[in-house]
């Protein structure tokens, strides 16, 4: 399976990483972080992203030496069986990510935008359009994400600025919170939030060279981390720890507070389009990654016939949890488990690479 291989540049890489790691800002994760780390939640967010960046960088470094993508790298270092296992792990991680995002954004839509709509209709809507969207290929998805990115960041920063009148800066003083050690521990164990950055290693063959992926990781995940940290701080300063951890949809609640004037009120309704775009992008990228990996390990000539099938499975599984609270509980488990994709696989590969490094020559193009 190869869609216009080798054409993606830094911009598309940045956009892909950003789009796949940012969406949980619009969901309940900010409130969950406040529960765990109180005023140091923003630090925990930074630790998660930092850990993911280091481990993904390690993975990309290994691939820059072995050449090819993560499957090629594992096959070369650990053999075909290990490559199959790694592919299956990532398929599971991204499939679970797709399912959870689909469910949570569908619930989000019902709670904020379309309260009278049928839940299954909204879920199917997201699944179908994500499937249609990825029909164009990962390069187009990356380009669209890159086009949407400036508007997304600008709108998010605008909200942060417009909320300045509500800020209580004392919420950020460093001696508050549950302690630095706990924040670091939670940050490291929740690194799965940023497991999406691994797509750079999965699609390594689609990028121009190793330098492209490295820069895309730095700017993409770095930018995403910055926005998440700023948003966590803004959320903390606006609502404080105790009120903040009660909210189901922190972003929506923040936008509800914005008041411009009597003629331009309730801008949270207009910002629905913003997170709807991000949600479709993130679901599409995750779904495409699942399809891509299946096609890759089975050496299929094209993954396109799988798209409707995987999308249908995803939509059905997403509708299984009885309520949003159960889904959020599953997400917490998922974030812990998906940390394996962040730590275990790069560490294992690095070990194998360290042992076999004498036979490996440097490869600048992947």
């Amino acid at each position: 399976m190869n869609y216009q291989g080798g054409n993606m540049g830094i911009a598309a890489g940045i956009a892909l990483v950003f789009a796949v790691t940012i969406p949980r800002v619009f969901l309940t994760s900010l409130a969950s972080r406040l529960v765990d780390d109180a005023q140091l939640a923003w630090f925990s967010v930074a630790v998660s992203a930092g850990a993911a960046m280091i481990m993904t960088k390690v993975l990309l470094y290994i691939l820059s030496r072995t050449g090819g993508d993560v499957i090629d790298g594992v096959r070369w270092l650990l053999g075909s069986t290990a490559a199959w296992l790694v592919a299956l792990i990532y398929i599971t991680i991204f499939l679970a990510n797709t399912v959870l995002l689909l469910r949570e954004f569908a619930e989000n839509t019902l709670l904020t935008a379309l309260p009278l709509s049928e839940f299954s209709l909204v879920t199917i809507w997201y699944a179908v359009w994500a499937a249609v969207f990825i029909y164009f290929g990962i390069e187009v998805v990356g380009r669209v994400a890159y086009m949407v990115l400036p508007f997304l960041v600008a709108s998010m920063l605008l909200i942060v600025i417009l909320l300045i009148p509500f800020y209580n800066v004392y919420q950020l003083v460093p001696w508050q919170g549950n302690g630095l050690e706990i924040a670091v521990y939670h940050g490291l164990t929740m690194a799965g939030t940023n497991v999406g950055a691994v797509i750079l290693a999965i699609y390594a063959r689609e990028f121009q060279n190793a330098k492209t992926t490295a820069q895309a990781l730095f700017w993409g995940l770095g930018g995403s981390m910055l926005i998440k940290v700023v948003y966590t701080q803004s959320y903390l300063m606006t609502f404080g720890v105790y009120v903040g951890q009660e909210k189901i949809l922190p972003f929506f609640e923040m936008t509800r507070l914005v008041y411009l004037n009597r003629f331009l009120q309730r801008i949270e309704a207009l910002l629905i389009a913003l997170w709807a775009m991000v949600s479709i992008l993130a679901i599409a990228i995750s779904l495409y990654t699942v399809v891509y990996l299946i096609a890759r390990i089975l050496e299929l000539p094209s993954g396109r016939p799988l798209v409707p099938l995987v999308a249908a499975i995803t939509a059905n599984v997403a509708m299984m949890p009885p309520d949003i609270i159960t889904a959020i509980g599953y997400e917490k488990i998922y974030l812990y488990i998906s940390s394996a994709g962040v730590y275990a696989i790069p560490a294992l590969l690095f070990l194998a690479f360290f042992l076999k490094r004498k036979g490996v020559k440097r490869c600048t193009s992947v």
């Binding site: 540049g9 911009a11 598309a12 839509t109 935008a113 379309l114 709509s117 909204v122 809507w125 359009w129 249609v132 969207f133 164009f136 290929g137 187009v140 998805v141 380009r143 669209v144 890159y146 086009m147 949407v148 009597r262 003629f263 331009l264 009120q265 309730r266 801008i267 309704a269 207009l270 629905i272 389009a273 913003l274 709807a276 775009m277 479709i280 992008l281």
Partner: protein, 627 residues
């Protein structure tokens, strides 16, 4: 009954029958268009062989008759006392017969007859045979505008000739004074045409025209006649002379109709291909401006010119465009819009991937950037390609106006695009699903205005949208000054009447009218149409899922745009993928800072002016303040 035919009872019976029984009136059989058999050759090999044999035989009989006639003529000359005088005539006749005999070689004859395509038939030495071939090609005598003028060139011996041209396509004055007059009247004593160099002598001594050439086959003869040239066929010559004499009626160079500008050039293309290329060349006095002539359409063989700057344009792009044009297999291409659909990457999408312009200055600007222009005979438009979406928002006079103003105007056009694309859909989404986003007073006003409207908002909007499009289309089709009047009157009266009749609400009229006006800020008509269609798609998405629908629709439209290519170049370059654009995307930079050509075009030479183009600023002025 026959025995009783004269019987009284039988007569009564017949009368009653005539009276009672309905007799349908006698009418000719009604015409019914039947399926035709394929206009192909006879497939049966035996029938084909018979046909070929018959034609060969007819040809041989004609030759035999001519030979016997020539022999009788020779006998008469020998018997007469004017032997010396008649010898050149006899010699010429014998040479002609020899040449014709050579054509009647059994092998050649069989080959020619087996050849189905008359284009490949060679010109015969016999004028009679040539005339028969011409009659076959042009289906004479049905074709009445083909002129075959037979005359004799007054040389020693006199040479029977034939001039063929298409009535109306040729300049008749030119034909009479430059072609026929010298050949028919210019008779100087003892003029002799050497047998070996008849054509050469005619071209150098008798035809005062610089644009003449010879043709060996009927394919070339047809091409020349169909494109307005005259063809001279001579007895005893196995080649014809093509004399350029194009002279059909056409418009003179006029102001552009659809791309008018306040400043900038006021010249528009016409229907004459040569004039159009000359207009571009007049703006671009460069010897490396190439104008390659191609032919499109199997039957129409319309002339098409591909223009590019050899030192700038990417050769791969040029060869790809030529490959696509020469790779078209269709009978007729009569308009550049049709040609565009044959060669473009996405003919099924509404977004145009070429710039369609009637202004030579826009073509010249495009060529200077490394783009390629295509012109088609009889079409007053040129295609400039490849093109990006952003270039289609530029207008002809952007560079003629000062930079700050033209940048603001460009931004205004983008606002127009935004309004045309999103306004109806956003109104629908907010009024149906997200009423909380509307200020309370406005919400009350909208609700009260809509109270007596019987339709859902989407139906109301579609009704008004269709009405608007009808008025627009009607205004376009009505000729003359009546069009705009109908548009204005129809718009105002219909809008007012619809509001009064409570079919639509006033706010909806405002939304649809604002959207319609915004569409007209888009300089390219086809892009405007594409935006209107996209707007309709977004409206449907919004009607189903509100702002979530708009977000979904926007992503799908963006994906389509990102996936599109204009002759290998990304349609939304230089934004995605990011590339250098020389300060000419949305905001227009100063002309002296337009140093580089668009990177996405991959031109041979990227720089179009030095980094310091205002050299005079570095020079010391000759007068003024000495400090």
């Amino acid at each position: 009954m026959d025995d009783l035919s004269g019987n009284f009872i039988a007569k009564i019976y017949k009368s009653v029958k005539r009276l009672v029984i309905y007799q349908p009136p006698q009418q000719p059989t009604r015409f019914v268009l039947q399926e035709t058999t394929e206009n192909s050759k006879i497939s049966c090999p035996a029938a084909m062989a018979i046909r070929e044999g018959f034609t060969e035989l007819t040809k041989l009989i004609r030759y035999a008759k001519r030979l016997s006639g020539a022999m009788e003529e020779a006998v008469q000359i020998i018997k007469s006392v004017q032997m010396a005088k008649a010898s050149p005539t006899l010699k010429k006749l014998s040479i002609t017969l020899e040449k014709q005999q050579a054509e009647l070689n059994p092998l050649l004859l069989a080959y020619d007859e087996a050849e189905d395509d008359v284009d490949n038939l060679p010109v015969s030495a016999s004028l009679g045979e040539n005339e028969k071939t011409i009659a076959r090609i042009y289906r004479l005598p049905y074709n009445t505008d083909l002129i075959i003028h037979r005359f004799v060139i007054s040389v020693e011996p006199p040479m029977p000739s034939m001039l063929i041209y298409m009535d109306g396509l040729c300049d008749s004055k030119f034909i009479n004074s430059i072609v026929l007059k010298p050949l028919m009247y210019y008779k100087h004593s003892g003029a002799v045409l050497s047998d070996n160099e008849v054509i050469k002598n005619l071209l150098t001594q008798y035809l005062p025209s610089s644009k003449t050439k010879t043709a060996m086959s009927f394919g070339d003869v047809q091409n020349a006649v169909n494109t307005g040239d005259a063809v001279l066929l001579l007895e005893g010559e196995i080649s014809a002379i093509i004399i350029e004499s194009k002279g059909w009626e056409h418009r003179s160079v006029e102001r552009p109709v659809f791309e008018q500008s306040v400043r900038g050039a006021q010249t528009g293309f016409g229907e004459m291909l040569g004039v159009n290329t000359a207009l571009i060349r007049a703006l671009f006095n460069s010897s490396d401006l190439i104008a390659e002539k191609l032919s499109v359409g199997i039957k129409s063989k319309t002339a098409c010119v591909v223009m590019y700057l050899e030192s700038v344009a990417n050769p791969t792009l040029v060869s790809e465009i030529k490959r696509r044009i020469t790779g078209i297999e269709t009978d007729y291409i009569t308009d550049i819009g049709i040609l565009e659909q044959f060669i473009t990457d996405h003919p099924n999408l509404p977004f145009p991937t070429t710039l369609n312009t009637e202004r030579p200055d826009r073509v010249a600007a495009g060529l200077n950037e490394g783009r390629v222009a295509i012109l088609l005979d009889s079409s007053p438009f040129a295609l400039v390609l490849p093109i990006s979406l952003f270039s289609l928002i530029h207008s002809a006079e952007d560079f003629a106006l000062l930079q700050p103003y033209s940048s603001v105007v460009r931004l205004l056009r983008w606002v127009g695009v935004g309004i045309a694309l999103f306004m109806p859909a956003t109104f629908l989404a907010i009024s149906i699903f997200h009423q909380e986003a509307i200020p309370t007073e406005m919400l009350l006003a909208i609700t009260s205005a809509r109270l007596q409207v019987p339709f859902p908002t989407i139906v109301e909007m579609l009704l008004l949208g269709v009405a608007f499009e009808l008025i627009r289309e009607g205004g376009l089709r009505i000729p003359g000054f009546l069009g705009p009047t109908i548009g204005i009157v129809g718009g105002i009266i219909l809008g007012q009447a619809a509001v009064s009749a409570k079919i639509v609400s006033p706010i909806m009229v405002i939304v649809v009218a604002a959207t319609g006006v915004a569409t007209y800020t888009i300089p390219d008509f086809r892009l405007g149409a594409a935006i209107r269609l996209s707007s309709l798609v977004l409206m449907l998405f919004a009607a189903v899922m509100g702002l979530v629908g708009i977000a979904t629709g926007t992503l799908v439209i963006l994906a389509v745009l990102c996936n599109m290519k204009s002759f290998g170049m990304s349609y939304i370059s230089p934004v995605v993928p990011k590339s250098g654009a020389g300060l000419d995307v949305i905001i227009r930079g100063p002309v002296y800072r337009q140093e580089m050509r668009p990177d996405a075009l991959n031109p041979k030479v990227r720089r179009r002016q030095p980094s310091i183009s205002l050299v005079w600023r570095k020079q010391k002025p000759s007068g003024g303040d000495s400090k």
